[in-house]
Symmetry: C2
Subunit: 368 residues, 2 copies
Amino acid sequence: MRLADLPTPSLLLDLPKLRRNIAAMHEAAARHGVALRPHLKTAKSVDVARLATAGEAGGITVSTLAEARHFAQAGFRDQIYAVGITPAKLDTVAELNLRGAEVKVITDDRDVAAAIAAHPGPVTALVEVDVGEGRGGLGPDDPALVAIARHLGTRFEGVLTHAGHSYAGRSIADMAQMAEIERAGIVRAAERIRTAGIPVRIVSMGSSPTALHAAHLEGVTELRAGVYMFGDLLQCQIGTEAREDIAVSVLASVIGRRPATNQVLLDAGALALSKDRSTEGAPKDYGFGLVVDLAGNATLGDAIVRRAYQEHGVVESAAPLPFDALPIGARLRVLPNHSCLTAAAYPAYNVLDGSDEIVAVWPRVNYW
Amino acid sequence: MRLADLPTPSLLLDLPKLRRNIAAMHEAAARHGVALRPHLKTAKSVDVARLATAGEAGGITVSTLAEARHFAQAGFRDQIYAVGITPAKLDTVAELNLRGAEVKVITDDRDVAAAIAAHPGPVTALVEVDVGEGRGGLGPDDPALVAIARHLGTRFEGVLTHAGHSYAGRSIADMAQMAEIERAGIVRAAERIRTAGIPVRIVSMGSSPTALHAAHLEGVTELRAGVYMFGDLLQCQIGTEAREDIAVSVLASVIGRRPATNQVLLDAGALALSKDRSTEGAPKDYGFGLVVDLAGNATLGDAIVRRAYQEHGVVESAAPLPFDALPIGARLRVLPNHSCLTAAAYPAYNVLDGSDEIVAVWPRVNYW
């Protein structure tokens, strides 16, 4: 199968770029002397997980129980399910662990810690720490931190944080600064718990920007990051990766032509691209994605998907679009604002390896 | 299975509300004396399609080839695939039609019309007309309209339009006015083609708002509409339906509590709700959805999902949230901004019929 024969819309994955992005994060982790625990929430693919974990000893991170189950079945034992657990979900985790997995959960709640400690099955947990994002977790100096670690008893594994607010940064200097806040916060949390006489095995931090741009990671045992594998337009704008590193794109066909208004319609709309508008507040607003040619090159200048209906994307450009080269059925690609959201619209990746041939189809584990 | 036992996040479908919404549209079509051709892009479900087409003679509308195939296999022969066709997709349509379906395609392009006319398989088409939305289609007075109908020859079935810009309306009077513009435009297009001596069998218009609020539909043969079945927060705000009519919701669990900032976290984020922000420009901005209690009642006041991360939804409210009733694991529901987008995140509906018991699980046909 070749690019010209794929149905549209389809999701493409460029293997050389994926490999390059994985190598860069591998190097960052090695440079800092910490384990890398890739976050599979972006890729949701066993094939990608195998590439991302090659040569790493840090296990994986997952964002749903469906991922935990899927990756456990594929032999990925060491996992952190990095979304606050509920008591009702513990049975599923225990069941996976009884079958050989080592899925660790996270919590910032005393009652949940008690439920974990009392659970009859093999469930262990990390305490979630908030270093400023204001989503989940307790502050590094919150008195409840040590109490919850104590509540967990022998089920306590360590501490975990995610500086998701690093995405608001706009430069490598911003990222380095946020990485240090993240590092210092999670290390402070670990030290407080250790001071109380409780061993802390795992000190886990990470987001793609802070992982790549940290000056040093003293006191941290592992890095979690996910979107770095694929990159996206937002990551480009916050300095994590270059546009040439974006490894996923949506193959689309022209389904409408409006020369009078310099617009074309694509068969990639809100479902095929997602309605993520994360570049809205970034230096450059890419609408619902940047339109490039079939080879992946930006020969259409600044053409973007300006509006997205359920199955229609409206492409606009400041420069005149090359209508002669864009008959109905012409194929283009769209680079995503946010690869986690766009990839989630598809059941599988069509993998390219330097030519227009699809060398593999890699399934994703969607839903929950 | 009961609501309390379902994994979260899960998609719920309230059958009495669905039936009521379907009955209201059925009555609107009957009142106007036109056939109803329900659009299955929202529901993507054979079970919903059976309810929506009961007593109707208008076939169905689909938005993807995957839907066309799925519904054809389930016995829905008469279909319009209402997204501009490309020549490469004609073989799939012809194949479905050779097996007994009658999938009609749409186009507004002369070259595509020629490709349809020349296709060896059984493919017929409608010409897409633009009544002001500025997406696909030719204006009712465009000279190319008659030329394309002529190009299609015996493959020509009729004309179709969609006043998608009716969603910008904010009152029933707005909707009635847009419905008349839509009706007059598509009837004018049909008349011009008939004047040229070409019979026009189908004169198809519709969006949920214009279908429900049209004063009369003289000259129109059928109505297409989809979102009316489920409703959503945007439809409430443009007067199509009441909030009590919203038939789909997302079941979620509390996974974080932040009394200091009056926030709770849900395990329903950007993937579970979609990043659709269509109420952003509406009179009331519901963020990523309105939070209601497990029974579906608005006992949490104006609590909305203000921020959406991949798997986390941050609930905020002007009034103090009832933290005593919201321990980790407490279950709530989120009403969607845009039901087409939210439902697309799930493989199936968990169907409720007046109690907390799941009486059926209805699969969806996602992807393309």
